[in-house]
């Protein structure tokens, strides 16, 4: 069972985010402290399809709780059945990432939440103003905004802050591996335990898929080119991208990230440094067994394919990260590492959230009240 301190405890004793012993708190932007009211408002907005242009898509469409908070597809399918260019990452534990998106173009969950709303191949709204208008037109949200933010005003910032607050709580720490770490040596199989050892040793995973007690999410939050999808005609793309004025303009980055062919540029889209071409953010590995297919373009269908990809030394390309090299793992060793990865799945697919209690809690919290207290 989980031990450790709670991040947020209401006067009613309910828990909103529960961290095991030794795990560092997520970095929360100062202007958006975590409160039950915001979390509840964010939960409602997260599931609300009316935020999209034609009322068919919500955050939960591509980040579906029943599919590991992803969508089981290689790339996301958005409004009017348009395919995007990137695989939907899971929202579980995303609150602990340093940056969001495969290319790290959003520095916070708040900034991330704003982009799919107006992405023409995702939720398809023409502008943030349109989103605000859509929410204003839904009278049932007025109270929610009032309690969460102190007034009934709806702004895109508030929408994003609420959704981000909800997302921050999606961190169950309820996997067999978590129980193993807490001391139950029977919680994962022997194979998985050997796999964990290999993960930190011969398989050379841990250096990029960083795992420590303080930060147990299996990502270093850095960007590496491992050679996935080396079909891109890079310098042609780079030239075309270069002609787009204004490095760092959020719309352009977001556009490029979804333009077929351009999206292969990866981190380059943000930094514009040639060494970052084809580099993508190290994915976390919690619930990885639930979030197939894999890689930024969903091109690897199973964990076996992923292991084979790494075992052979990735895909050669001029920018291949120097840390990638053939691993010479045996079939049994590969199976052990996969068994380990499978032990990282939260119980019930990561849906063990008492949202009824959250609603209750939110109703009882006074407007704008911030309640934080460490667990006894």
């Amino acid at each position: 069972m989980q031990k450790g301190k709670s991040l947020l405890v209401s006067m009613l004793g309910a828990v909103v985010l529960h961290l095991p012993q030794g795990v560092l708190e997520p970095e929360i932007p100062k202007q958006n402290p975590l409160t039950p009211a915001k979390v509840e408002l964010g939960r409602r907005l997260y599931f609300d399809k009316r935020l999209s242009a034609d009322g068919t898509l919500s955050c939960a469409t591509c980040h579906d709780p029943l599919k590991g908070f992803a969508d089981g597809r290689p790339v996301a399918i958005g409004i009017k059945n348009q395919a995007g260019a990137r695989n939907s990452p899971t929202v579980l534990y995303a609150g602990f990432n340093e940056v969001q998106f495969w290319d790290g173009r959003a520095p916070t969950l708040e900034e991330q939440a704003k982009q799919p709303l107006i992405n023409p191949v995702e939720m398809g709204q023409p502008s943030h103003e349109a989103v605000v208008k859509a929410v204003v037109a839904l009278p049932e949200y007025g109270d929610g905004f009032n309690v969460a933010f102190g007034s009934r005003d709806v702004t895109i910032e508030r929408i994003a802050e609420a959704i981000a607050s909800f997302e921050r709580t999606l961190a169950p720490f309820a996997s067999p591996f978590d129980r193993f770490l807490a001391g139950d040596k029977q919680a994962i199989s022997d194979n998985a335990q050997r796999g964990f050892t290999l993960f930190q040793g011969k398989a050379r995973c841990v250096t990029c898929h960083e795992f420590t007690t303080s930060f147990p999410y299996f990502t270093d939050n850095k960007f590496h080119n491992i050679g996935v999808a080396m079909k891109g005609n890079f310098e042609q793309l780079a030239r075309a991208a270069q002609s787009v004025a204004g490095k760092g303009a959020v719309t352009q980055e977001s556009e490029l990230a979804h333009k077929p062919g351009f999206e292969a540029l990866g981190r380059w889209i943000v930094t514009r440094q040639p060494k970052d071409i084809g580099a993508f953010k190290t994915s976390g590995l919690r619930n990885i067994a639930l979030t197939a297919p894999y890689m930024h373009d969903g091109s690897l269908k199973t964990l076996e394919e992923v292991m084979d990809f790494y075992n052979k030394g990735g895909e050669p390309n001029p920018n291949l990260d120097g840390g990638i090299r053939p691993l010479n793992l045996t079939k049994d060793e590969v199976a052990d590492v996969i068994a380990f990865m499978q032990s990282l799945s939260d119980d019930n697919g990561g849906t063990n959230f008492d949202w009824e209690q959250l609603k209750e809690l939110s109703r009882k919290t006074r407007a704008g009240e911030i309640v934080t207290a460490p667990a006894p």
Partner: protein, 202 residues
């Protein structure tokens, strides 16, 4: 002051007044060759061990010290003597044979470590430690334990040695207690003699 200390004090006091010969049980006693005072004009007082001495600034050679000053000098001599005394466990001095053996053994292990450090046989790809660490530079053994970014955990020097053997050198890591690991550590540490400990320094 101990019984022994008192005896020495008496000895020192007597020595101030006259020659050592007065106390010798007959025959020629060895003379303590006192070093000259650094400032060329102060009194130098020697201890009965024939080695330890103290310069008494402000007192001229041949001048008599009062009781308080004499006690100070005696205490200083004793402190200095304790510091240079090599006492073995059990209360007896180390023999010169022991000291020679220890030095030879330590040197041998360090030399073994030097050879391993420069050997392409630890790994399988012909790379040796001295390629990235000539003269063991850049090993910083004084900074362990620290969070080692390649391992993503807090490591000791030996953990990093094994990581390097497995990764850049593509060789089999050394088992716990392997003499080779001891030798490697001994060599690496020997290159940093005198460097203050700084665990955790990145």
């Amino acid at each position: 002051m101990t019984q022994w200390g008192r005896s020495v004090m008496i000895f020192v006091t007597l020595a101030l007044g006259g020659s050592l010969a007065a106390l010798a049980a007959g025959g020629d006693a060895p003379r303590h060759q006192l070093p000259a005072a650094a400032d060329g004009q102060s009194k130098v007082v020697g201890l009965c061990d024939g080695k330890t001495s103290v310069t008494v600034t402000g007192v001229a050679p041949g001048e008599r010290m009062d009781a308080t000053k004499a006690r100070e000098v005696a205490t200083e001599l004793m402190d200095k003597y304790d510091a240079t005394l090599q006492v073995a466990h059990g209360g007896t001095e180390h023999t010169s044979r022991e000291l020679r053996v220890w030095e030879a053994e330590t040197k041998r292990v360090i030399d073994d470590g030097y050879k391993l450090f420069h050997s392409p046989e630890i790994g399988t790809n012909g790379i040796s430690c001295d390629m990235c660490h000539p003269d063991a530079s850049n090993t910083h053994p004084e900074t362990y334990p620290k969070f080692q970014t390649q391992l993503k955990k807090v490591a000791l020097l030996r953990d990093m040695i094994n990581w390097c053997i497995e990764n850049p050198l593509e060789g089999p890591k050394l088992a716990d207690g392997d003499d080779k690991m001891k030798a490697l550590e001994a060599y690496i540490l020997s290159t940093r003699k005198g460097v203050p400990l700084d665990p955790g320094k990145h």
